[in-house]
Amino acid sequence: MARIELKNIRHSYPAAKGEDQVWALEEVNQVWEDGGAYALLGPSGCGKTTLLNIISGLLTPTEGSVLFDDKNMTQVATIDRHIAQVFQFPVVYDTMTVYQNLAFPLRNRGMNHSDIEPRVKEIAEMLDLTESLYNRAAGLTADGKQKISLGRGLVRPDVNVIMFDEPLTVIDPHLKWQLRSKLKQLHQQVGTTMIYVTHDQTEALTFAETVVVMYEGRVVQVGTPVELFEEPKHTFVGHFIGSPGMNLLPCENVDRKAHCLGSALGIAEKNETQSEQFQVGVRPEFVYFDEVGIPVNLNKVDDLGRYKVAEVETHGHVIKMIVDEGEDIPGENPRICFDLDHTRLYRDGWMVETEEVMP
């Protein structure tokens, strides 16, 4: 058990001949509190797996340090970091039984036979593997194999953190949900820090207490699922999380007022700056039809059952909005308004603080 801290981590893979050095991780500072359930969310190629491998010691960062409880572990070998990892594709030792698989990490650490058995049985019970305990691991289905990979981490009493690298990739869709709730339940049971890497927002938001969003080699926001939804710190977060993602519209700063789509919005940047170019971000959930709003053209409406997604257009920009089941969509001359409490301003991609002003 340990608190893990990444300090000024930068990493680049050796560049091919004639290419410039590319940073897979730009600069990461991140603390993982002991016992937390974290999700590391981001699109493919954003540096998630690199970050994971740096924590586990499979990679040594080009710059920066990894601290476990304030102890510098940057140069410490994987085995001495006491971490566990579940990979994208199930890794089991084919020739061993499920029992032998689970006992393997303990045996490698020189634990007694008599101590191993109760431990393995306890974990097998937790993972619902008791029935197949003495079967060959190779014969199990993909989800069974992933459980074994996880089990090999759980059996070890000294594990600092269990990391999951997109563990549900090869699992059947109907089993994904089951395994995910199992993971959450296990986290509550054992209380080990877990870091769950994924590019799927549903997986991240349902599993984690804290979500770390990565984009192009840096951490853009750390927060609870609600914070990510309500206050995306970066346009990428707004766009990536939520379905459909946040509407982003160009916006001008006129007399300290944000002007968007030809009218003043009623919010402004709190700290005055010179810059005139902004983006306005508003989630489809916070756009509504209103008789005094901005006139738009209705493009189309998708009925998704519990709600409808309407697509409207004005000044050459498309805006998506979520309309509840019961609400009507005006047939003629629709006009829309933004919920100002949930409307954000972004400069160069990053959110700026706003205050309400008289339009």
């Binding site: 491998n53 586990s56 499979l58 994987t78 085995i79 971490i83 566990a84 990892q85 990979f87 994208q88 594709f89 890794v91 030792y93 084919d94 020739t95 061993m96 393997f104 990490p105 490698n108 650490r109 990979s149 090999r152 981490g153």
Partner: protein
């Protein structure tokens, strides 16, 4: 992959069947024909039944060469397979040296077999060969043209030189296809390098190793040219393996009947071993 049933696919196979059948069936028929007949020259043949088969199967000469053959094949398998695995494990996995290693290692495989024999002959001769000089220089009396033990070891060494690379290449290809995650998981589980070999690499190599053993068994069982050029089967009969003996009988003594019977028995032995091996492998794979 589930395949579609389509009888017209036969048309695609016809050219192969015709060519191989021309080369395999007609000669095989000829062999069968000879094996049951007796001739006194002048193209006069008489029915001889299974007489030749009985003669071959009971002849001490056949037993001796079959025994030599089995001993040889066993020996080279015991040396080449572990050595090949060891070298493959030591080869670099990436970088510019990979190509260099692969090209140099594949070199012996592409040398005509009699050149291999000739090369080893002049390499091992005690008077002019580098190897012969070196061994004699160490104070060991070595002359493979006269000493049975020396002849055997030289033949085995030559085969190891010639064919270990095949095992290396197959194993290397097998090793390269193991995903990195397995090695990473093993590091996290704290496995020793022996455990990595025993529980990850060896199980994943099972298939290529089966193929390697099968190929080495087949080819070493058919070996003719290299030992023939190196030792000519001698000294005496000490390195007369099945093929060499067969050619001696068929072309040297022109005993067509016994040679044909021996050919068939020989072929059947190879076929039987391969079939047993093949079915065992398939059953293993299904499990």
């Amino acid at each position: 992959m589930n395949k579609i049933s389509n009888q017209r696919a036969w048309w695609l196979v016809v050219p192969v069947v015709v060519l191989v059948a021309f080369n395999a069936l007609i000669p095989l028929m000829t062999v069968v024909n000879y094996s049951v007949q007796e001739t006194f020259g002048n193209n006069l043949f008489f029915w001889h039944g299974v007489g030749w088969f009985e003669q071959v199967l009971t002849s001490e000469r056949f037993h001796a060469s079959l025994f030599r053959q089995l001993a040889f094949t066993g020996m080279i398998l015991i040396i080449e397979v572990p050595l090949g695995i060891a070298v493959a494990l030591c080869m670099p996995r990436k970088g510019p040296w990979v190509s260099v290693c692969l090209v140099l290692m594949a070199l012996p495989l592409l040398i005509p077999w009699n050149v291999v024999g000739a090369m080893w002959n002049i390499f091992a001769l005690p008077d002019i060969g580098l190897l012969g000089r070196m061994i004699n220089g160490l104070g060991i009396d070595y002359n493979f043209t006269q000493q049975p033990v020396a002849a055997w070891s030289t033949t085995v060494l030559m085969d190891v030189w010639h064919w270990t690379s095949l095992v290396v290449l197959l194993t290397y290809a097998g090793l390269c296809s193991i995903p990195d995650a397995y090695y990473q998981a093993a590091r996290i589980d704290g496995a020793s390098s022996w455990s990595v070999f025993r529980f990850i690499q060896l199980p994943k190599l099972k298939r290529v190793l089966t193929i390697a053993v099968l190929l080495r068994f087949m080819d070493s069982f058919m070996i003719y040219t290299e030992p023939f050029v190196l030792t000519g089967g001698g000294p005496g009969n000490t390195t007369t393996f099945l093929s060499i003996d067969l050619v001696k009988i068929a072309l040297g003594q022109f005993d067509l009947g016994p040679a044909a019977a021996m050919s068939l028995i020989y072929f059947l032995v190879v076929l039987l071993v391969c079939w047993v091996f093949y079915t065992a492998m398939m059953r293993n794979e299904e499990q």
